[in-house]
């Protein structure tokens, strides 16, 4: 402590000497640079490099190093827990089967369900069925983005539009999209248009609402900072508002996909026609029609797996990237 004080007072004398441009008394040695009190540019230069050094030290002390986690740790923390959970579920299932809690035709074993999926694969229809549903889902979701994004921007930015349709948009989110299926069938018959209508009515409100809440959560400070540097009007929307609301928008997209996928399945289960390609929903309904529980469970599993896969492969990395780049990701 005493040491610091000595340095402090030495520095002070050094400064005072320079301020008055009077190099009378030989100053104390101040650091490795040489004697203080030289006056003139020499002293200034040294003060400048002193400051630069001090600043570099502060920066180094304060900076955080971002260490990336190793592959082993990722496997341990991210992969192991779900694998354990799945194994446990399969074990309980097998146990229930072995104890014959239900009749065989009501509760097949995991192995029987696995072989049902294997049969589909061997028949060559598995990928076709999955692709039929996934392509419908993605196309519908894409259209929902194109409609939902400007709609959300409009509701978020224009008070009249918000007052007019904001509550309806929020209300639509809680309306199960399966409720639209009968109406869509009456409007469009058993056609692709009917399926896409149901997807859109399910997904568009989520996407628009996500963007609205993203816009609402933009900190006022960013708006002010944007105005100060001259980012107003359209430039303000493009350079400040939209990027600032991206996390909320992404959350909306994620929910929008979940709703699109659910709506699609509801539509596929109800609407079966030779004109429509067979997707996972039709597979499920066929299983029920044939009293084939293994088929029904296979279809449910596949629907679940596709939903999880899209989330893991598309949304999770996107969300992680956005949050990490903004320092919002809490790493353990």
């Amino acid at each position: 402590m005493a040491n610091t004080e000595t340095t402090g007072s030495a520095r002070e004398r050094h400064r005072t000497g320079r301020d008055t441009a009077d190099s009378g008394a030989p100053g104390p040695v101040n650091g490795p640079g040489g004697p203080g009190g030289n006056g003139g540019s020499d002293g200034n230069g040294q003060a400048a490099s002193d400051l630069a050094g001090l600043e570099a030290g502060l920066d180094a002390l304060d900076s955080k190093s971002a260490a990336r986690t190793s592959l082993g740790r990722v496997l341990l923390t991210k992969v192991l827990p779900p694998v354990v959970a799945i194994a446990l579920v399969l074990l309980l299932w097998q146990l229930a089967f072995a104890l014959e809690l239900k009749e065989d035709y009501q509760l097949p074993s995991p192995l029987q369900v696995g072989s049902a999926i294997g049969d589909l694969w061997l028949k060559g229809t598995l990928l076709e069925v999955i692709w039929t549903s996934v392509s419908r889902g993605l196309l519908g979701f894409g259209i929902a983005i194109v409609i939902g994004t400007p709609l959300g921007l409009l509701v978020g930015k224009v008070w009249f539009v918000r007052a007019a349709i904001g509550p309806i948009l929020t209300g639509l989110q809680s309306l199960p999209s399966v409720a639209w299926v009968p109406a869509a069938i009456i409007w469009f018959g058993l056609s692709d248009a009917m399926i896409y209508t149901v997807i859109l009515l399910g997904a568009v409100p989520s996407i628009a609402n996500g963007l609205v809440s993203g816009l609402d959560q933009v900190p006022p400070l960013y708006r002010r900072a944007g105005r100060v540097i001259g980012a107003t009007g359209l430039a303000g929307v493009r350079h400040v508002l939209l990027p600032a609301s991206l996390p909320g928008y992404l959350a909306g997209l994620k929910q929008g996909w979940a709703f699109a996928w659910r709506s699609l399945m509801a539509a596929e289960i109800i609407a079966r026609s030779p004109d429509l390609g067979a997707g996972l929903g039709q597979l499920l309904e066929n299983g029920r029609g044939n009293q084939d529980m293994a088929m029904v469970l296979s279809a449910i599993l596949l629907i679940l797996i596709v939903g999880i896969a899209i989330d893991l492969l598309v949304f999770a990395p996107l969300e992680r990237r956005v949050l990490r780049s903004r320092g919002l990701l809490v790493s353990r």
């Binding site: 400064r15 301020d19 920066d59 002010r224 100060v228 540097i229 001259g230 990027p243 903004r326 320092g327």
Partner: protein, 264 residues
């Protein structure tokens, strides 16, 4: 206004003899009938190249005044003239955009200023170097320390190439050591450039450490109570005896202003 934009800011400043003119400005908030007067008849000129600190207790409306000068709000009465248009403003929070890197934050300000795309990168590097953050162009905001963020914010403010830099308690949230270093940096940059600074703070020593002129505002409503010329030669330190001496005098005055509010 159109002619003001065509002329180079420096010429206009010399022509006008000030970097900012606050002319009998008042500001009140609230609805008609129950209005609260926040600023009362403030008149203040900032000379070209001058460093002025606005000092006051809470409720003196110093941030409000800065917002008015920055054009973020309109005065209820009086007028504000900033030759050369828009003033740069630095907040207490860094207010950098977290979706951009440090360099891109500066480049956005350059883009809004109208600098051609090809020149932005080099100019951003130059400004980062000015605040001694060379090599930080690609750093994310959250990777920087508090002091580094404020330096990037300063670089972004300077990127606006305005002749007037407004600072709203920009160092209040920093630790004492970092704040001390940033005082030195700001003094150095102010002397290297010809920018005028209007700096708001409630810290008397900070005000004396930095300014050529300290303006004390009274509270509720904010009025100019007194002002001091600070003739202590730069570079100063916050520990300097002369700084301390003047600070004691100003603090006494400030305490007197505050005490008046307890009396009724």
């Amino acid at each position: 206004m159109a002619t003001a934009l065509l002329k180079a800011p420096v010429d206009e400043q010399t022509e006008h003899g000030y970097a900012a003119r606050i002319d009998h400005v008042s500001k009140s908030f609230g609805r008609q009938g129950e209005q609260q007067l926040v600023l009362d008849d403030i008149s203040l000129d900032v000379a070209p190249g001058e460093f002025v600190t606005l000092l006051g207790a809470s409720g003196c409306g110093k941030s409000t005044l800065l917002n008015l000068v920055a054009g973020l709000d309109r005065p209820s009465a009086g007028s504000i003239h900033v030759p050369g248009g828009r003033a740069a403003l630095m907040f207490q929070e860094h207010a950098l955009f977290p979706w951009l890197t440090a360099g891109k934050n500066i480049e956005l300000a350059l883009k809004m200023r109208g600098l051609p795309k090809g020149e932005r990168r080099a100019e951003a590097e130059r400004l980062l170097e000015l605040v001694r953050l060379q090599g930080a162009h690609g750093k994310r905001v959250h990777e920087l320390s508090g002091g580094m963020r404020q330096r990037v914010a300063l670089a972004r403010a300077l990127a606006q190439d305005s002749q007037l830099l407004l600072m709203d308690e920009p160092f209040a949230a920093l630790d004492a050591i970092t704040r001390d270093v940033l005082h030195e940096e700001l003094t150095r940059i102010w002397r290297e450039t010809d920018v005028s600074v209007l700096f708001v703070t409630h810290n008397v020593r900070e005000a004396v450490r930095l300014a050529q002129r300290v303006v004390l505002l009274s509270s509720r409503p904010g009025r100019i109570a007194r002002e001091w010329r600070v003739d202590i030669p730069q570079p100063r330190r916050i520990e300097d005896a002369a700084v301390a001496q003047l600070s004691v005098e100003i603090t006494e005055e400030l305490r007197g202003e505050i005490r008046r509010h307890g009396q009724h």
